[in-house]
């Protein structure tokens, strides 16, 4: 068990390391940030001064090591725009984003999983077909199209809800629905196929054959086994709580992390972009780690294997 944990942690660390390196290489080598921040017609002395102030005139590997050291010390740099700590600039946007993504996650789970289970249990019924159609449509409909359609109907035509901004709960309704519906479709489709896979297993037939009531078969044999693959995709959804709303935040002018990322990328605000990249990677990796641990709890085969009991 400890060995398993250590391996997972090591992989997580390697992944974070790669993300840091990627961020550094891409963002540092792609252009001269000093020139871009200062503007093309800035006097050369000013650009030089900016460079030495930010350490941009050192060799790249020095910058890289310094960057690493800073991250380990918890210093993610300052926003080049207003000189505030990048981590603060990002952190103050997180609540806004979570205000969208957490209710959206609730919609995804509350709508997607029951729909998927129902569809699998009533295979080829009208409900199943409806769920599958909705799921495929939900995949094919990009969030900006769904969002704009909702705006067109509920804000422009009916005038029930505001089309953008952040001035109270009414403003969150359309973005949350946009995020939630798309994710619910994906989850429903996934749950359905996981459930169908399990329902086709011999142990389900065995349980039915020995007279276990169907309801009990579903509850204590099918659902726990179908939960195992479903947890993976839920883990991914939890991991993208912070970064999953880039497009939707842009559609609804919602001042969250995603909007900040698009603006920071446009301004070449390196520190902020790196900070968001790291934050996103860290949440994803942490969510994946939790999923791996949950596997152990959900799947007795893994538990047995680890206790040396064989599979």
């Amino acid at each position: 068990m400890l060995r398993f944990l250590a391996m997972r942690l090591l992989r997580a660390l390697v992944t974070i390391l790669l993300v840091v390196t990627f961020a550094f290489v891409v963002l540092r080598l792609s252009g001269d940030p000093a020139q871009i921040i200062m503007g093309a017609d800035a006097p050369p002395e000013a650009v030089e001064a900016f460079r030495s102030a930010w350490g941009l005139d050192d060799p790249l590997w020095v910058q890289y090591l310094r960057y690493f050291q800073a991250i380990i010390e918890g210093d993610l740099g300052r926003s080049m725009r207003d000189g505030r700590d990048a981590i603060l600039v990002v952190a103050e946007r997180i609540p806004s984003t979570l205000a969208l993504t957490v209710p959206a996650l609730a919609i995804k789970l509350g709508l997607g999983i029951p729909a998927g289970i129902h569809a699998a249990l009533h295979r080829n019924s009208l409900a199943d077909r409806a769920v599958m159609m909705a799921a495929v449509a939900g995949f094919a409909m990009p969030s900006f199209v769904l969002g704009l359609l909702l705006v067109l109907v509920f804000a422009v035509k009916l005038g029930w809800l505001p089309s953008g901004g952040q001035d109270g709960w009414q403003h969150a309704v359309l973005p949350v629905i946009t995020l939630g519906l798309g994710g619910a479709a994906v989850l429903a489709r996934f749950t359905r196929s996981a459930m169908l896979e399990v329902l086709g297993q011999p142990y389900i037939r065995t349980a039915s054959a020995k007279g276990v009531p169907w309801r009990a078969v579903v509850r204590s044999h099918a659902l726990p086994n179908a939960a195992i693959p479903t947890v993976t995709i839920i883990g991914f959804m939890v991991g993208s709580l912070i970064a999953g709303a880039v497009v939707v935040e842009s559609v609804f002018s919602w001042p969250g992390v995603g909007r900040l990322l698009v603006v920071a990328v446009g301004n070449r605000d390196l520190a902020v972009v790196q900070c968001i990249l790291l934050l996103v990677a860290a949440t994803m990796v942490a969510a994946n780690l939790v999923v791996d641990l949950l596997y152990g709890a959900l799947d007795p085969r893994l538990r047995m294997a680890r206790a040396g009991g064989g599979a």
């Binding site: 992989r11 390697v14 992944t15 790669l18 993300v19 990627f22 961020a23 891409v26 963002l27 792609s30 252009g31 249990l121 009533h122 295979r123 080829n124 495929v136 449509a137 995949f139 094919a140 409909m141 990009p142 969030s143 900006f144 199209v145 704009l148 359609l149 705006v151 067109l152 422009v156 196929s193 896979e197 329902l199 086709g200 039915s208 169907w214 309801r215 579903v218 993208s240 970064a243 999953g244 880039v246 497009v247 842009s250 559609v251 990322l261 698009v262 990328v265 446009g266 070449r268 972009v273 968001i276 990249l277 996103v280 990677a281 994803m284 990796v285 994946n288």
Partner: protein
């Protein structure tokens, strides 16, 4: 909860006589065929040049909503014909999606073969990269790379090509390793074939169907990514136009001229829908192991 019924007899679904593709698949095939034809014949079927301005005829509604038949789908804020722009956008978006899908498949398969051939630390590196790719939402990576490297069409296509490379790499590695244990690969190796020949002429054709299905499944994702990035203003840049780009600009006129946005939006939805229906159908018929 007695409403939970027993599954119908025969969970494995009794094999039925095949009566041709279901209607939905036929519709998908027709739509994809239409889109390909439009993309190939763009210059012939386009009523106007997609950049041609007609300033006295700005924001005229589509023909079926009271506009003139001269502009079937209406005109935009500069009096450009929406239908012509739509056709140019379809060509651009499909071209990008094809290019990117091919690049992704080629890169991923090559990397997967490398991992399968060398094993050891090469394989570990590849797997670490796969982990890395899977750990970040691709949109975030793409956003960073695009805006920082500036934007050119070639770079954009290559960047989108890296979407889903890890999926091909994983598939190619797994299949190549299992092919290596099968007789045919061992036989040609014993005959002295070079790795190039083994992987190119013997392993690749054997796993091609799986790869092609994966490409069909990844293609709509690339269209969605392209249109998403272009919508954010970070993909295809004007004067070139793509479906996402049209939606992004049409958004400004959502209230007064929704047709500018609705035409490309419905093409995006119908195209991704059709290609994924086809992909699912192909997978179910040809390669159930991919599920």
């Amino acid at each position: 909860m007695s409403d939970v019924p027993m599954p119908r007899a025969g969970l494995a679904a009794a094999p039925k006589a095949w009566r041709g593709p279901p209607p939905l698949v036929l519709f998908a095939l027709t739509w994809v065929g239409l889109m390909l034809a439009v993309a190939l014949l763009a210059d012939l079927v386009s009523p106007y040049a997609y950049t041609a301005l007609h300033l006295r005829n700005r924001l005229s509604p589509p023909a079926f909503a009271g506009g003139s038949w001269a502009h079937l789908l209406g005109t935009d804020e500069l009096g450009r014909d929406v239908l012509s722009r739509l056709i140019a956008s379809i060509r651009m978006s499909l071209l990008i999606a094809f290019g990117a899908t091919l690049i992704g498949a080629a890169v991923g398969t090559a990397v997967g073969f490398l991992a399968a051939h060398f094993r050891g630390w090469v394989e570990q590196c590849v797997l670490a990269l796969v982990d890395f790719s899977a750990s970040l939402p691709f949109l975030i990576l793409a956003l960073a790379v695009l805006a920082f490297f500036g934007n050119s069409l070639a770079l954009f296509v290559v960047l989108l090509g890296f979407h889903a490379w890890e999926r091909y790499a994983r598939i190619a590695r797994g299949l190549a390793i299992s092919a290596g244990t099968q007789g045919y690969a061992a036989a040609v190796r014993q005959l002295g074939a070079t790795p190039w020949r083994i992987y190119g002429r013997h392993v690749l054709p054997n796993i091609a169907s799986t790869l092609i299905i994966s490409m069909t499944l990844a293609f709509p994702e690339v269209i969605l990514l392209e249109s998403g990035l272009s919508f954010l203003g970070l993909g295809v840049q004007p004067p070139a136009t793509s479906l996402g780009n049209m939606v992004g600009y049409g958004r400004e006129y959502l209230t007064g001229a929704p047709w500018i946005l609705l035409a490309p939006a419905s093409v995006v939805v119908l195209t991704t829908l059709s290609v994924s229906i086809l992909g699912d159908w192909l997978r179910d018929r040809l390669d159930p192991t991919l599920r």
